[in-house]
């Protein structure tokens, strides 16, 4: 049973991938491009050493963002606000982190703490609104995204803008050298390539921590039983309001880490062109990876691969928007496919139910 279930979990994304390649081929054909050629150049470009580093770098924030979303999903809570949460966290952390200098480990740790605290506070607002005012978290987190974007745009041009900068656009002061996270290149003997973000280490730790939290701790147990049967959860003594707030804050804490890979590894300051959209992409990755720490890692790498390899397309006269369509196809198909499979397997699942051990 477990094996069959795993098989499905693995085959679903593969089938989704194949079908979405098929659909994208059709679209390429209608605009008069050769699909085979297109995918070939994408693939060849995507597996170059330089690209691989870039893919891993891109996948780090995607992965952490997916985890932030998944923590909520596990208890049936939809945090659509990771986007606003990580942007707020990154801005504040970038600003405060640039005000002083201590030795690197402490400096980086401090920046992480500031980002995590800011993002979880921002997320806590949605938790509070749900618990005290009965406002659904989907509505409130979407609204908070807008408010956050507005606040960031305003404060970046006023309070947080680098003083006496001769740069045209608003941006925070650059982090001092001690606040930058060193790259990992020397550990992989790839010093000739671009920087491999040191935050990769944190992402791996976050994945392990997430697994431990959800599947091993009593808090995770509470999250899972609430997600599965909220009424029984309440009868078991769980205070649903308290748990909503805890889950929202935890989700926000993970969200705080999302922007730190680009911040500490590459940008070193918050600017107008700081990467956005990572929070929304995380929702897709969480769906793709079924809230599983390993599944989400694969999903994050896949999306990062598509994004990177699509960059070659413009040079070959193929609109690179095709890549975004592919991502959308994959998501749609995976979601539909999981559902179809789920229904299809229900009988077997029940049949084999007694064999299955719930981890």
């Amino acid at each position: 049973m477990k094996i069959r279930f795993r098989l499905v979990s693995v085959s679903a994304p593969i089938i989704a991938l194949t079908v979405s390649f098929g659909l994208s081929s059709l679209i390429l054909l209608t605009i008069g491009k050769d699909p085979y050629e297109t995918f070939k150049i994408m693939f060849e470009y995507g597996i170059r050493g330089k690209s691989i580093v870039s893919i891993v770098n891109r996948s780090i924030p995607l992965y952490i963002s997916a985890i932030a979303v998944a923590v909520g999903f596990k208890m049936g809570l939809f945090n659509i606000g990771v986007e606003g949460q990580y942007l707020m966290g990154s801005l504040i952390a970038a600003y405060i982190g640039a005000q002083f200098s201590v030795i690197t480990p402490l400096h980086v740790l401090f920046i992480i703490i500031v980002a995590v605290a800011t993002s979880s506070l921002w997320a806590a607002i949605a938790g509070y609104l749900k618990v005290e005012k009965g406002i659904h978290e989907v509505i409130s987190t979407i609204m908070l995204n807008y408010i956050g974007t507005g606040l960031i745009a305003y404060s970046l041009t006023t309070i947080f803008d680098e003083p006496n900068s001769n740069y045209d656009l608003p941006r925070t002061k650059e982090l001092p050298e001690t606040g930058k996270m060193p790259p990992l290149n020397k550990f992989f003997n790839i010093e000739d390539l671009q920087d491999l973000h040191g935050f990769l280490v944190i992402a791996v730790l976050v994945g392990i921590f997430y697994y431990w939290l959800v599947w091993k701790t009593t808090l995770g147990f509470d999250l899972r039983i609430t997600g599965s049967n909220p009424i029984a959860a309440k009868f078991s003594g769980i205070n649903p309001k308290r748990l909503v707030v805890i889950a929202m804050i935890t989700s926000g804490a993970f969200a705080g880490l999302v922007g730190l890979a680009p911040l500490l590894g590459y940008f070193h300051r918050f600017t107008i062109d700081f990467p956005t959209g990572l929070g929304f992409a995380g929702i897709g990755v969480a769906l793709l990876g079924r809230n599983h720490p390993f599944g989400m890692a694969v999903g994050a790498l896949l999306f990062a691969f598509l994004q990177r390899s699509a960059q070659i397309l413009d040079l070959n006269d193929v609109p690179k928007e095709i890549e975004q369509m592919m991502q959308a196809f994959i998501l749609l198909i995976v979601v539909v496919f999981y559902e179809v499979i789920r229904r299809f397997l229900v009988k077997q699942q029940i049949k084999d139910a007694s064999k299955r051990t719930d981890e």
Binding site: T218, A232, S236, G237, D358
Partner: protein, 502 residues
């Protein structure tokens, strides 16, 4: 006589379990046919096979003397078979009428002509003499009425064979009478009724024929000319256990004190008020009441799920006012809710996880690191399984794979093995076979003699009278009567419960 159903050598295995083994049975058209048997005997499985929810491994099915293979409930309905589940599948914010037509196949985007459906449904109701107000919201119906809506729903879809899995388990005696009257009407109009029950008196009252199942096999089908004792012997292979004599051990010490409590709902209507009672150490206090008279909310208030408007609840001389459900459970109250699947278990988790539910934060299951102590949970679930004779292949079995009665035994065992000071038991033997019922009664009595206080709610009046030391009666949100259980009859109790007696 025509056969409605003919089953030949139906076999169904689940891993480690032979749920149905070579079951053969013939059911006459227009009969009321009862199926009885121990928990886990395979009754529900057999019904699910008939209704197309479960596919048998082998065997032949004939419906109205033509060979049939049921592939889905939809397919079963088209063959004239309808099933009413124990958990009603009604949308409570819709009217009865809307619920009945919900899910009926109709051309896409075509207007629903309510009046047309209404007159069709009314015809069905007239034909079978079933009454209900079609414009009422399901929310406002009693359990018995909801069940009637489900029955009308399947009849309207053309069912000629009606399957009911433990229909009387959720009903109070008056409602059972009403249901049986309705079933007789159906029978007189040619409907074949197939139902499962653990209550042998009821079975003998209404069934034409009775099939007995044991360990997956159909032992025998007999006409309704057997005695209760004979039936019980066929069922459990030994004679009916007699309840032990009553020895009251009630102590003066007060464990639970409920003073003048009152609750109101969102619209400001009173759910219950002026409720005052005490439960002593080593006492079983029974609560009698027709469903919807406030008793459910009162016990929920005691464990902190229902909010109090005024009044006070004290447990072991501590005011519970500022304690949440978790603190109350941890301070020595155990709770068996009335609906095991909805309120007490996580169906897609295994028994090891389910044994922790309700006590996930006590030291026994929570390490100082905050992780779950799985080893203790396994040990505890093994203990519950063996001492309450839960039939299951093991502790890693999912709750959903247990038969209804075995789920119930597991929940009762989990709460009792916890050695509480006060056990609040709502319908503790619902869906449990007569053998296991005697086991649970005995455990309850023994625990009481050792000092446990019990607040017992049961729709089974004989159980209530037999187990309780004292009984309080709820009617329209008020405590209307307190009785000594020793000299009260079910009829008396019924009178107080319906407000006829004061």
């Amino acid at each position: 006589m025509n056969l409605a159903i003919k089953l030949e050598n139906i076999t169904k295995t689940y891993p480690g379990v032979l749920a149905n083994s070579e079951v053969s049975v013939k059911i006459n058209s227009g009969d009321i046919h009862a199926i009885v048997g121990e928990n886990g005997a395979g009754k529900s499985t057999l019904m699910k096979i008939l209704y197309g929810m479960v596919k048998p491994d082998s065997g032949k099915i004939e419906i109205f003397e033509t060979k049939a293979s049921m592939t889905s409930p939809k397919n079963a309905i088209s063959l004239g078979i309808g099933m009413v589940h124990q958990h009603f599948m009604l949308a409570k914010n819709l009217t009865v009428l809307e619920n009945i037509i919900l899910g009926i196949d109709r051309p896409f985007l075509k207007n629903i002509k309510l009046s047309k459906y209404k007159s069709e449904i009314q015809k069905v109701m007239e034909l079978y003499s079933l009454n209900i107000d079609l414009n009422q919201y399901v929310d406002e119906l009693s359990v018995g009425e909801k069940q009637r809506v489900e029955i009308i729903k399947v009849l309207y879809r053309g069912a000629k064979i009606l399957i009911l899995d433990e229909p009387t388990a959720v009903l109070v005696p008056q409602e059972v009478k009403e249901l049986f009257k309705n079933l007789r009407n159906l029978k007189n109009n040619g409907v074949t009724v197939l139902f499962i029950s653990h209550k042998l008196d009821e079975v003998l009252e209404i069934a034409d024929e009775i099939s007995v199942m044991r360990s997956g096999q159909l032992i025998d089908t007999v006409a309704n000319n057997v005695s209760k004792t004979q039936l019980a012997e066929m069922m459990i292979g030994k004679s009916l256990p007699t309840p032990p004599a009553r020895i009251s051990s009630t102590n003066e010490e007060v464990i639970l004190k409920v003073e003048n409590i009152k609750s109101i709902d969102e619209d400001g209507r009173t759910i219950f008020e002026d409720i005052t009672f005490k439960v002593h150490k080593s006492e079983i206090l029974g609560i009698a009441g027709v469903e919807g008279n406030g008793q459910k909310e009162v016990v929920e208030a005691i464990i902190g799920i229902q909010e109090l408007h005024s009044g006070k609840v004290e447990f072991k001389n501590n005011d519970l006012k500022d304690q949440g459900t978790r603190e109350r459970l941890e301070s020595g109250i155990s709770f068996i809710p009335e609906d095991r699947q909805l309120q007490a278990m996580i169906m897609d988790m295994n028994l090891t996880n389910n044994v922790i539910i309700g006590r996930q934060n006590i030291e026994k299951y929570k390490s100082s690191l905050g992780t779950v102590k799985t080893k203790n949970a396994i040990k505890e679930s093994e203990k519950v399984i063996s001492s309450f004779e839960v039939k299951t292949p093991g502790t890693s079995t999912l709750a959903t794979a247990l038969s209804g009665g075995n789920q119930q035994k597991f929940v009762v065992g989990r709460e009792l093995e916890d050695n509480p000071n006060l056990l609040i038991a709502s319908q503790p033997t619902r869906g449990i076979d007569i053998g296991a019922q005697a086991l649970i009664w005995e455990k309850l009595r023994n625990s009481r003699d050792e000092g446990l206080s019990v607040l017992l709610i049961s729709a089974d009046l004989e159980e209530l009278i037999g187990l309780s030391d004292r009984i309080i009666v709820f009617y329209q949100g008020k405590l209307v009567k307190e009785l000594n259980a020793e000299n009260v009859t079910p009829e008396d109790l019924g009178g107080y419960m319906t407000g006829l007696k004061k």
